[in-house]
Amino acid sequence: MPPSAAEKSGPGIARRWSRGILAGPVAFIAAAVVMAGGALWVPKGAASIDNIVLPIVLFPAIWAALFFYTSLDRNLLRAWLVTLGLLVINGGMIAMEFVGKGAAA
């Protein structure tokens, strides 16, 4: 896709880089953290395994949802906030789990 005149300008290039970083590595890391955090908040289900298995099975879908959202949301700041919000909430839950286990030990 040829960049528009606005995108060729300094702020336009920075915006493209920002979106590329968000939709690329940041979305992937966020998807991995959401998957890992899922072990703590997805219901365990009848066999007590859903919280482990479902996030792993659905990882490609979690990533795809984040990738397309971060690629297409016109409001780049909002896309960053939503993605980082998911990352912080799930990362925080994982950190609290480790802190809790450490305290119990």
Binding site: M1, I49, I52, L54, V57, L58, P60
Partner: protein
């Protein structure tokens, strides 16, 4: 008709093209090797048949043989016994325990592996060591294993290879979804070839038709493939870290189903032949795999897996009490009772491997996978040809032809490496196969540099692939493989069937090499159909 704003459609079109171009060459390699891997079992049977067809993969008498073999190995290897059929019906029985090698973070299987003749139960081979190291000496399965490993991890060491193929799966998913969204007149485009328009438009239409019909399959393959790659390389370690303090063995025990309460008292194992027969009767299918934990102990447990019966999608897992041989339960693949997570995970295998309805579903998966290869290759050629004014894109077009037509040639010469290595008595066959593959890749790379005309290069590579495919059955015969008459009289139908398929494939390649070009796109002078279409929306 899918309605998108012009801005969004442009973004999706860019994502569609760049996801294909940046990762397309590797993605094409993974799809092509996956198409071949669909027939991995048949390739094993073709390359290393025994003298007779194997009717029962778990024959009567295996019980007595396994008891006898158990007395010949260190009792610590009784912790786990895996039994499964391999190439030609040979039975592999691996007595092992789990140890963590120095410097490794996770335990690995270490023990003694026996290879048994399925009719006589004679021991054909015995090796002791880590499972992965023993596998390197598996002469009969080496060809199929080499091709499967190329598909699974591109022969890049774990976990990096799995991460790479996982990323490629995600890229394929992106290409499929964006391809669906950017083609606004989807139903119309499924049936449209503008025959009397410019060559570029005709080829673009052919790409769109193949991609559109293939779209659900491409999405399924991409989703399930990235699941398999990421599950073991990232998902399981991450989940073990969060939920089990990093203990992967405990995680596997939890999701597979907790073992019975520990009882180390000695107790002879029950009649395994009877358990296999019971599983056969319940599933109406032959067992495909059996696992025995704590062989010879009071807490021994036998799990027998069978492939799905006709009309079913999911395999069966039957659990038996080891000492008594009594049927305990049929369990789902994961967990002890049916669950949403277990059902979702159970679906991944049949949907990815296409092995739920025997040869028919495999043939369908092969054909659809082949169509995916066509879509990936024509997509890359269209993208590069439309930018052919630039010397860099012209070089990229030649690189696409090198991989697109050179990779099949490299793959067709892997059996040459296998049969030549085997006829010279090599015990580790990965090296001759790797040499054949890499040397061909380098030679075709050199040819790509030397031959400036893309169409000529394509014809050279296709002709080479044709010769390599036609030569493979001959080499099989030279390496002491059975002829067609003896194979047919021994009911080894896979041998002549694959020979014919290779000969036919070779003839088609030679015909394509000398025929009219249908695939390669000449340097672009036509308009940019897709971009024009999006701009008009």
């Amino acid at each position: 008709m899918i309605r998108l704003s012009q801005e969004r459609a442009k973004v999706l079109l860019a994502v569609h093209g760049w996801s294909g171009v940046l990762l397309g060459l590797l993605l094409y390699a993974v799809i092509l090797t996956g198409v071949i891997a669909v027939f991995a079992d048949e390739i094993g049977d073709w390359s290393s048949p025994l003298e007779q067809e194997t009717v029962a993969p778990f024959p009567v008498g295996l019980d007595a043989k396994l008891r006898e073999l158990a007395t010949t190995v260190d009792p610590k290897y009784h912790e786990d016994l895996s039994i499964f059929p391999r190439a030609g019906g040979r039975i592999e029985a691996f007595f092992h325990h789990h140890i963590t090698p120095e410097g490794a973070s996770q335990p690995e299987d270490f023990g003694v592996e026996f290879k048994l003749h399925p009719q006589t139960l004679e021991v054909l081979d015995r090796r002791e060591g880590f499972g992965e190291d023993i596998g390197a000496f598996n002469v009969s399965n080496a060809l199929a294993d080499f091709l499967v490993e190329l598909h699974v991890s591109l022969h890049i060491p774990d976990p990096w290879g799995l991460l790479v193929t996982g990323m490629l799966g995600l890229a394929m998913m992106v290409a499929a979804v964006t391809g669906l969204l950017v083609h606004r007149h989807l139903i119309k485009e499924m049936f449209t070839i503008r025959k009397f328009r410019e060559a570029m438009l005709v080829r673009r239409d052919a790409h769109v038709i193949a991609a559109t019909w293939n779209l659900p399959f491409a999405f399924i393959l991409a989703f399930t493939g990235s699941f398999f790659s990421f599950a073991s390389s990232m998902g399981i370690p991450a989940m073990a870290m969060v939920a089990f303090g990093g203990d992967q063995v405990k995680l596997i025990e939890t999701i597979v189903g907790m073992p019975p309460v520990e009882n180390t008292a000695a107790a002879p194992i029950g009649n395994l032949d009877a358990m296999f027969a019971d599983a056969r009767q319940r599933a109406k299918m032959e067992p495909a795999f059996a696992s025995i934990s704590h062989f010879g102990r009071a807490d021994a447990q036998v799990t027998v897996f069978t492939r799905p019966a006709d009309g079913e999608l999911i395999s069966h897992n039957y659990v038996y009490d080891g000492p008594t041989g009594a049927f305990v339960r049929e369990k789902p693949g994961l967990g002890l009772v049916p669950s949403v997570g277990g059902a979702a995970a159970d679906l991944m295998g049949p949907l990815h491997f296409g092995n739920f309805a025997g040869l028919l579903s495999k043939a369908v998966w092969f054909a659809l996978g082949f169509a995916s290869c066509y879509v990936a290759l024509t997509g890359m050629l269209l993208w590069t040809a439309r930018r052919a004014e630039s010397p860099a894109w012209r070089r990229m077009e030649r690189a696409v032809i090198w991989v697109g037509f050179g990779l099949p040639l490299s793959l067709a010469l892997v059996p040459w490496g296998y049969f030549i290595g085997r006829s010279r008595g090599a015990m580790e066959l990965e090296a001759p196969m790797a040499i054949a593959f890499i040397a061909t890749a380098l030679a075709t790379g050199l040819l790509t540099i030397l031959v400036s005309e893309p169409e000529r290069l394509r014809r050279f590579l296709l002709a080479g692939t044709g010769v390599a495919l036609i030569g493979a059955p001959g080499l099989r015969l030279i390496a002491d493989g059975p002829g067609w008459m003896s194979a047919l009289s021994a009911h080894l139908s896979t041998v002549p069937a694959l020979d014919v398929a290779l000969l036919l494939g070779g003839v088609l390649c030679l015909r394509a090499a000398w025929g009219r070009s249908r695939v390669v796109v000449p340097a672009a002078q036509d308009g940019d159909a897709e971009e024009g279409e999006v701009a008009a929306s």
